[in-house]
């Protein structure tokens, strides 16, 4: 049953990803991209990582998607129809299939490293997924977290400098 569900969602993900590239109207492409993101979120749920699924929906299908559609509307790309480029799709499809074969081969040929981390499935079930991520973020990785804050500060200052008028 679960495997059937997986293939169903996978099929939708691949078809919608294909239409992201193929659609001639940018808005349609963007909407297809949302479908792909939601399918990926379903995969995360099936992999028992509900936190990632929620983040996927909130950040990607929500915030980033709004941003993309906003840019399309703002730059008035909505009306422009992309030209046909069947050759590009054929070449891209060929490369994707090749990459998929290579990736499967690589993943099948080797075992995982066996160096397991301290977090196990039992621990996730007991403590909870979000709590574990929160602890890792604010205890073990608090320094990178702070540096990422500096990174965002630089980005905000930069956006102001580039956008504002002469001093």
């Amino acid at each position: 049953m679960e495997i059937l569900f997986f293939y169903l969602v996978a099929g939708v993900a691949i078809v919608s990803a294909f239409f992201v590239v193929k659609c001639r109207n940018p808005i349609n492409s963007a909407l297809n991209l949302v479908t792909t993101f939601i399918c990926l979120a379903v995969f995360y749920v099936m992999l028992e990582s509900p936190f990632m699924a929620a983040i996927q929906i909130i950040v990607y299908a929500g915030a980033i998607m709004v941003l993309i559609i906003f840019v399309i509307m703002l730059l008035n790309f909505g009306q422009t129809i992309k030209g046909r480029y069947t050759h590009g799709i054929a070449a891209g499809g060929l490369v994707s299939v090749l990459l998929m074969l290579v990736a499967t081969q690589l993943v099948r040929s080797g075992d995982a490293t066996g160096t397991g981390g301290p977090v196990t499935s039992a621990m996730i079930a007991e403590v909870g997924h979000t709590e574990l991520i929160g602890r890792a973020l604010f205890l073990d990785f608090v320094l990178p977290f702070e540096i990422a804050g500096v990174l965002l500060l630089i980005a905000i200052v930069g956006a102001l400098i580039i956008a504002k008028q002469k001093v």
């Binding site: 080797g110 075992d111 490293t113 990178p144 500096v150 002469k166």
Partner: protein, 471 residues
């Protein structure tokens, strides 16, 4: 995060906090020079702290190290940024930059560089590199209404974003193959010879692509001349010296300590080094714009430094550090002179505009000649000694072919380094630049030139310092 690790991170924290303070202060007091000088002061204090305050622990949360090597790099980058800020004083007035923002971004870049070269884990490395490049994107496009600068910023942004994507993917693959973020463990883990080794090696190859973009090795160098030409001259100087040096410094310990694990990568490095030296040299020959010429020159010098990376070992590392210092001094000096020649009409870039400038500005012309000749490697200057050490290390390490190609490239380089000098000392004068340089600029550049001359004659202090850092 305890007190010891905070204390060990003191130089970087000083840089970041100083930068934020300048940003805040700049909102109230709009005095460009003041903030630039405060920024330079903060950078110098950070350098002094890094040099003389013994950190209580070497390992900082498994992300960064406070080893002698990392602290040496912090001192180097902080001083470069301080010098860049001092040299920019007149420049920011001419082009009406926001002084507080400029100084704070420079300090953020310094913090990024020192984090980058102190990184011991991929997480730390990635964040350091991002802080550095994000600050640089903005600094490159800092001049308002300058289309070339905007173009340069855009190019660097697009190339940089692609490089970041490569780096992120590389880290993911290496993590898959080895199960660790620690740089040394990741390199050692590859030796295991298990089934995931190809995946790890693919990750290392992607990592090389990302590094190649950042330090502009040859197949990935195409952005370099356009960005250097379009960016403000002091920023180009920073891009060519500390920004590249920090990336190199981050990867040097990696290649030196990893040993057998990534021996397969060395063949690619070997090819990259040869391509970088030769293509860079031949692309520099026809240039008639001094900033573009210096861009290709930086490409060629990165090729020389790749030799040291390949040789690895204590020999190669020492040669690399010595070379990096000398190269940075000369390149910073050359871009500094271009900065001092700038006036309301823009910067002097074409050789035609340089013609006969020596008659008007004999001191600065002589300094530019010294810097360019040091980059060439003419004997009494430090550039010669640095190149000598590098090629000697290559011969000892069994890479004679690389040394020979390096020597050939340096011989050809005489042509493109001497061309602007000949233009400077041409009898007729085409230039209209009559601006007088500020005293601080002249003093700083004279200091740079003096260090180059002294190190060329008496290199022992720097050599023994480098030997102290890399035992």
């Amino acid at each position: 995060m305890n007190q010891e690790s905070l204390q060990s991170l003191l130089p970087q924290i000083l840089l970041a906090l100083g930068s934020t303070a300048i940003l805040l202060g700049g909102a109230w007091v709009r005095n460009r020079r003041l903030w630039l000088l405060v920024g330079a002061l903060v950078a110098i204090v950070a350098a002094l702290v890094a040099a003389f305050v013994e950190p209580p622990q070497i390992d900082i949360l498994g992300m960064y190290s406070a080893s002698a090597y990392a602290r040496f790099c912090t001192v180097l980058w902080s001083l470069t940024v301080a010098a860049t800020l001092v040299i920019s004083c007149r420049y920011v007035d001419i082009f009406r930059f926001g002084g507080g923002e400029y100084a704070s971004l420079m300090l953020f870049a310094a913090a990024g560089m020192s984090l980058l070269s102190a990184a011991t884990s991929f997480v730390g490395l990635f964040l350091g590199l991002e802080v550095l490049t994000l600050a640089l994107y903005i600094l490159i496009a800092f001049r308002h209404g300058d289309t070339r600068g905007a173009e340069a910023g855009m190019k660097y942004l697009v190339f940089g974003a692609v490089a970041t994507a490569f780096l992120a993917f590389a880290i993911a693959l290496i993590y898959t193959a080895t199960g660790t973020f620690n740089l040394q463990a990741a390199a050692v883990g590859l030796q295991a010879g298990d089934g995931l080794r190809p995946l790890g090696l693919a990750g290392w190859a992607l990592l090389l692509v990302a590094v190649g973009f950042k330090i502009s090795l040859v197949p990935f160098h195409l952005w370099t001349p356009d960005v250097y030409q379009g960016a403000p001259a002091p920023v180009s100087g920073l891009l060519a010296t500390a920004a590249k040096g920090a990336v190199l410094a981050a990867f040097l310990p990696l290649l030196v300590m990893s040993g057998e694990g990534i021996a397969d990568i060395k063949a690619i490095l070997w090819l990259l080094a040869i391509a970088t030296m030769l293509v860079g040299t031949f692309a520099a020959l026809p240039q008639t714009n001094i900033k573009r010429m210096l861009a290709y020159s930086s490409v060629v010098h990165m090729g020389y430094l790749m030799i040291a990376l390949i040789v690895a070992g204590a020999d190669g590392s020492r040669a690399l550090l010595f070379y990096l210092v000398v190269y940075s001094l000369a390149t910073f000096g050359a871009f500094g002179i271009i900065t001092t020649f700038a006036d309301e009409n823009g910067e002097i870039q074409d050789y035609d505009d340089l013609r006969g400038l020596a008659a008007l500005h004999p001191r600065r012309s002589a300094l530019l000649a010294v810097f360019l000749l040091s980059l060439t490697g003419i004997p009494p200057l430090a550039g010669f000694f640095a190149k000598f050490g590098l090629f000697q290390a290559a011969f000892r390490g069994g890479y004679a072919e690389l040394a020979v190609i390096g020597v050939i490239a340096s011989v050809i380089s005489v042509y493109y380094y001497v061309r602007p000098v000949i233009a400077l000392y041409a009898p007729e004068s085409a230039s209209v630049c009559r601006d007088v340089a500020a005293r601080s600029e002249t003093l700083l550049l004279v200091g740079c030139a003096a260090v180059i001359v002294i190190l060329g004659v008496y290199p022992t202090p720097l050599l023994s310092l480098v030997a102290l850092i890399i035992p």
